[in-house]
Symmetry: C2
Subunit: 290 residues, 2 copies
């Protein structure tokens, strides 16, 4: 079976064709522009591929409520042309096949649960820390949607005692995304994170914010794996810092060997690396085909 | 069908017999002492009731992993005699019927989803704010367990700018439970919350902490209903204060009519009142019987 996959990011689209084993057989990528301009390229790519289903992991917010007249649409984004755009409907016009649709981060967590770091587990959370901060939640073997869908990048955190930075979130100022996203790091220190040395104070501060969010999600959901992806997490020195601070925050309260003894194997990078999103979209397509 | 229900609290046990309509037909309550002493009374109560299943909502931490040799046990509690006690095994020795077992707060959220404020919804969260702070999570039609089970009462929150109180949590000091539980209110103000006037500053401060936790859970899980129960929430003046501060924290970010326009119907007291826990245990028993 050949399945189409779309990782629809806010700045970049990646389209791929894969199989049920999670292998991506070919792919293409292009910038996210107005919806028709962008999706025309996707349609051209998929045209002769004979896909039997398509999975889409999309930037949001999106409407995931199957009983809603707006199901399959991007909703309130400021991105030109995308607010209200019928993403699923557009693809279905060209490809009359089952289409799976979820957030980009839910796709990533689903891919990781199927073929990645959380393979075989029935719960995990996936954080992407990059231009923004997003969270995908997989619990009891299901992707969590609820009223809208998780937006856990915007939780409030305590301020680092040596951090006077105001935060970059237009909604909340100093929420997690406001303090720990790539743009927050760049604005706070005046250079891109990738230009800061590994032992710069920036990373301890970054870990401080991430660890608070992770402690919160571990207490609230008790996930079986916590996966941290996105551009900022290419800074591998963050992982030991985050693990240490999560352990300090929890202070032995959650009695589970995975957390007390196996933290290095509990808070981890994506098993699929930067393919988590695209493989996750593939997994959504496979689900849709069922 | 007659089903047994046990709401096993840290200070009080409530046993009841009910039916599939969620009606409690009779009940008894007694203090929580050593396990055998306590459960002997439960066994005596249920002996001639002809129950076809039993549901237990228990104080924790407890082992809910059906593949674990410790399934059905209370685990690391400091409560004398209970650490490691085989709760489910004990009941099954006397009553060879299906036994449902979950946390007290998961029982409550399940009861509310079946017959209470979240009836018919596939997601909601239930907070109990009393001697401690506990959280039950129901997502995509399932009770969330994960690695252990939710312990969302211990998330970190920002400190109220006028609050110098150190907090009462022995693990985390000023976590949510440390700052917002009944004992925290009593220690901060020198009198029990029930003796403070409705317009006392204590309630604005209490709402400040609760609203942070709720904003976090709304962002992370997007629940379809948020239910606040427990002794502290008998202070009904807290509800409008909490709703106002949640709206302020979210600042319009989560675009859902339930939150933007219907907050009074979104953050609510338990529909089952103080019966949420017992009815929830009944619901667990009904599930086990299936």
């Amino acid at each position: 079976m050949r399945i189409g996959a779309i990782e629809a990011g806010g700045t970049k689209f990646i389209c791929g064709v894969g199989n049920e084993q999670g292998e991506i057989l070919e792919r293409i990528s292009f910038p996210t522009e107005a919806p028709e301009t962008t999706l025309e390229q996707a349609v051209t790519f998929f045209r002769d591929k004979g896909v039997e289903a398509i999975g889409i992991g999309s930037f949001g917010p999106i409407d995931l409520d199957r009983s809603s007249p707006a199901y399959g649409r991007v909703t309130t984004t400021p991105k030109p042309g995308w607010a209200g755009f019928d993403f699923v409907g557009y693809m279905k016009r060209f490809f009359p096949v089952p289409v799976g649709f979820d957030t980009d981060v839910n796709a990533a967590v689903f891919g990781e649960a199927k073929w990645g770091a959380a393979q075989g587990l029935d719960s995990c959370v996936y954080y992407t820390i990059g231009t923004g901060v997003g969270v995908g939640v997989y619990a009891e073997g299901k992707l969590v949607h609820g009223l809208v869908h998780p937006e856990g990048g915007h939780v409030l955190t305590r301020r680092h005692p040596e951090d006077p930075f105001k935060g970059v979130c237009p909604f909340h100022g100093d929420c997690l995304e406001g303090m720990a996203s790539g743009p927050a790091i760049e604005k706070r220190w005046g250079v891109k994170g990738s230009e800061l040395p590994d032992d710069h104070q920036a990373w301890e501060m970054e870990a401080f914010y991430l660890a608070q969010a992770l402690s919160g999600v571990i207490l609230l959901l008790s996930p079986k794996k916590v996966i941290l992806g996105g551009g900022v997490m290419h800074q591998k020195q963050l992982f030991p810092l985050v693990r240490k601070l999560v352990a300090r925050n929890l202070n032995g309260y959650v009695v589970a060997p995975d957390i007390l003894d196996e933290m290095d194997n509990y808070i981890v990078p994506p098993g699929l690396g930067d393919n988590a999103g695209l493989c996750g979209a593939l997994a959504l397509g496979i689900e849709a085909a069922k």
